[in-house]
């Protein structure tokens, strides 16, 4: 369940899930909806796949993503989207403690 919460904590991933709720989409179609880079999108897809919220099907060079959520996960997505839950990885935004100095090279 931790993986599900982690996946739902990011607004981009939530938006991806909301788009996939309408219909299955290819990785390219999904990437077009966002301004982030393709490697970042790939990382988001990987998190969603790891949490078991989406399923990827590769046909030739095209990867099609399809939603794979239980009712509870669906409800959690709705709740997280409604309250704007954002628990992004601390490592991404960690601010060095005061007094911390980078080594000068």
């Amino acid at each position: 369940m931790n993986l599900v919460f982690k996946a739902l904590s990011d607004p981009t991933r939530r938006r991806v899930l909301q788009l996939l709720q309408r219909e299955p989409m290819t990785a390219g179609e999904l990437a077009e909806q966002f301004t982030v880079s393709k490697p970042t999108m790939s990382a988001h897809f990987a998190v969603l796949r790891e949490a078991g919220l989406v399923e990827a099907e590769k046909v030739g060079k095209t990867v099609t993503y399809r939603i794979k959520m239980s009712v509870l996960e669906d409800a959690l997505l709705g709740f997280a989207s409604a309250v704007g839950l954002e628990l992004s990885d601390q490592t991404e935004r960690t601010v060095p403690p005061s007094g911390f100095r980078k080594k000068e090279t």
Partner: protein, 197 residues
């Protein structure tokens, strides 16, 4: 076992209905057949409709999640075992339940919770069906609606049996399944009409 077809889902659902219906008949010495039929008919009809549609179209591939069917069977067995345990406790004098209220309440709540769990897992399990030939968006939306309505109906049924007096729970619980079936049918009809427009 990995090649379990979608239509085979009808089997665990039907077995669940038969087991639970049979159990209620065992527990209740004055069974009302119409009540039992009305209770399980919508679920059975839904399964039969799905199975028939998919068999007829002969598409949508296989369902790899044999575990899902096994879990359904395990749930049905749990209902049976708990029911029999309650009967045994009553016969053995461990349970003072002359009006059979505790038994009926426990079985109602258990059945509701089991159907809720089944409905919860349904959209996730059905998503593994290959949707290359049917309309993926429509199938996905329908699976989602079926899951939501089944889960909410199960929750409502369990809630009714856990909170209301038995006589009222009996009356109101009776209408949960037909109401869910009607709601789902109307939703599907409206969606089809909207898609056609």
């Amino acid at each position: 076992m990995n090649d379990l077809r979608f239509s085979d889902l009808a089997f665990p659902i039907a077995l669940l209905a038969v087991l639970t219906g049979g159990l209620i008949l065992v527990i209740d010495p004055e069974p009302r057949l119409a009540h039992q039929i009305a209770m399980f008919a919508p679920l059975g009809a839904l399964a039969a409709m799905e199975a028939a549609r998919h068999s007829k179209l002969a598409l949508c591939g296989t369902l790899a999640e044999w575990r899902f069917a096994k879990a359904t069977l395990a749930g049905a067995s749990l209902v049976l075992v708990v029911g029999l345990a309650l009967v045994a406790a009553d016969v053995g004098g461990l349970l003072e339940d002359p009006e059979r209220e505790t038994r009926r309440r426990a079985m109602g709540a258990l059945l509701g919770l089991m159907i809720m769990a089944y409905g919860n897992a349904l959209p996730k399990q059905l998503s593994v069906i290959k949707q290359t030939e049917c309309s993926p968006a429509a199938t996905q939306a329908k699976n989602r609606a079926v899951g939501w309505i089944t889960a909410l109906a199960g929750l409502a049924y369990a809630g009714v049996w856990l909170t209301l007096p038995v006589a009222q729970a009996d009356r109101i619980g009776f209408w949960v399944w037909p109401a869910a079936a009607v709601f789902l049918s109307v939703w599907m009809l409206l969606r089809r009409r909207r898609a056609a427009a």
